[in-house]
């Protein structure tokens, strides 16, 4: 059986230095990916980006509605009732027990 040759101290030091730099580079990469993801998500929230068209956006100063693709009706563009920003007010609340 061949015995492994122990690395000399200079080689060990060089290996350790290199491993440290590799670790730092990997950590930096993870931080950068996380940072870009966080900024993109924050920008998406600020822009109110979603799958559905918001046809009743009260933040529009001039009250203008967004332009829909040709052939799409406002009903088709609007989010389903369960995803709407405010639940319909028609449901009467249950009376609290006396």
């Amino acid at each position: 059986m061949v015995k492994p040759v122990p690395p000399v101290s200079e080689e060990m030091r060089a290996r350790k230095r290199r491993n440290l730099w590799l670790g730092l580079a990997l950590g930096g990469f993870v931080v950068l990916v996380g940072l870009t993801t966080a900024i993109r998500l924050a920008d998406a929230n600020e822009g109110n980006v979603s799958f559905y068209y918001n046809t009743d956006d009260s933040r529009q100063a001039d009250g203008a509605k967004p332009e829909l693709p040709p052939g799409m009706t406002p009903d088709q563009a609007a989010p389903p009732p369960n995803l709407a920003a405010e639940p319909p007010a028609s449901e009467p609340e249950e009376a609290a027990p006396q």
């Binding site: 060089a14 730099w21 990916v33 870009t36 900024i39 920008d43």
Partner: protein, 320 residues
Amino acid sequence: MTDQTAPSEGAQKRYATANDYVQLMKPRIMMLVVFTAVAGLVAATGVTGHAMNPVMAAIAVLAVALGSGAAGAINMWYDSDIDLIMTRTSTRPIPSGAVPREEAIAMGLIMSGVSVMLMWLASNWLAAALLAFSIFYYGVIYTMWLKRSTPQNIVIGGGAGAFPPVIGWAAVTGNVPLDAWILFAIIFFWTPPHFWALSLLAHGEYEKAGIPMLPVTHGARATRIQMLAYTLVLVAVSLTPVLTGLGGWLYGGVAILLGAVFLWHSVKVWQSNAGGPDATGADQKGARNMFLFSILYLFALFAALIAEYALPLHFPVIVS
């Protein structure tokens, strides 16, 4: 290519330091690449009014730097055989025995992927695609194909180094209009007189390594004529941003003043025997001065553009 890359047997074995890996990325070229990319980014912001998130802009610039480093590592991996032959390059990390070739190519490929991915995340697919293509241009088209096959190697290959301002522009706006390509053209036409000035000084080394640089294949006189021709084109191209409105009074003034000095250097070298068998010390010094001035010229030109939009000092020469 493999046998010649091993360090000489008598040489003392040394282990790679962090500096060796930095040198593998050609840091001086990286500085110029980053600077011109920032110029493209700042100019695009000023011209179009598109604002990029500052953190995303910093990450995009970092991606350009990593891409440049990746291309440099791929170049050093492929050229390690000729680097060993030439005195100027024999101390580089691979020929000196500090970094194994396999590590250099692995580093180049991994950094290429990381840089393109980071660019995509920080900006858009167009900037990422342009960055990927520029790495391919330098690492494959220039290094593996043009450099050893044609005396026009650095003319066509100069395109690789001209991409950074276009990438910077695309990162901000998601498109590349004429102004971005004008910045590309400035670096493209700057490369031949810049690089041939160095080649006139080191043509013996290139000949020894079998690289068909223009002074080796066509002689020093033909090279000096072409340097003058490209300098004339460069000075003309450097003034076009003033016509399109990209550059204002400050940029125009710097372009005229430094263009005149560059032209003066070029005429001096053209009249001299630099690179030839009868070259005197003064002739060679003239070529060296032109090489050094060309670096200052490009830095100053793009610095003027950055100053115009960042300070802001942009006052258009032609008001429409």
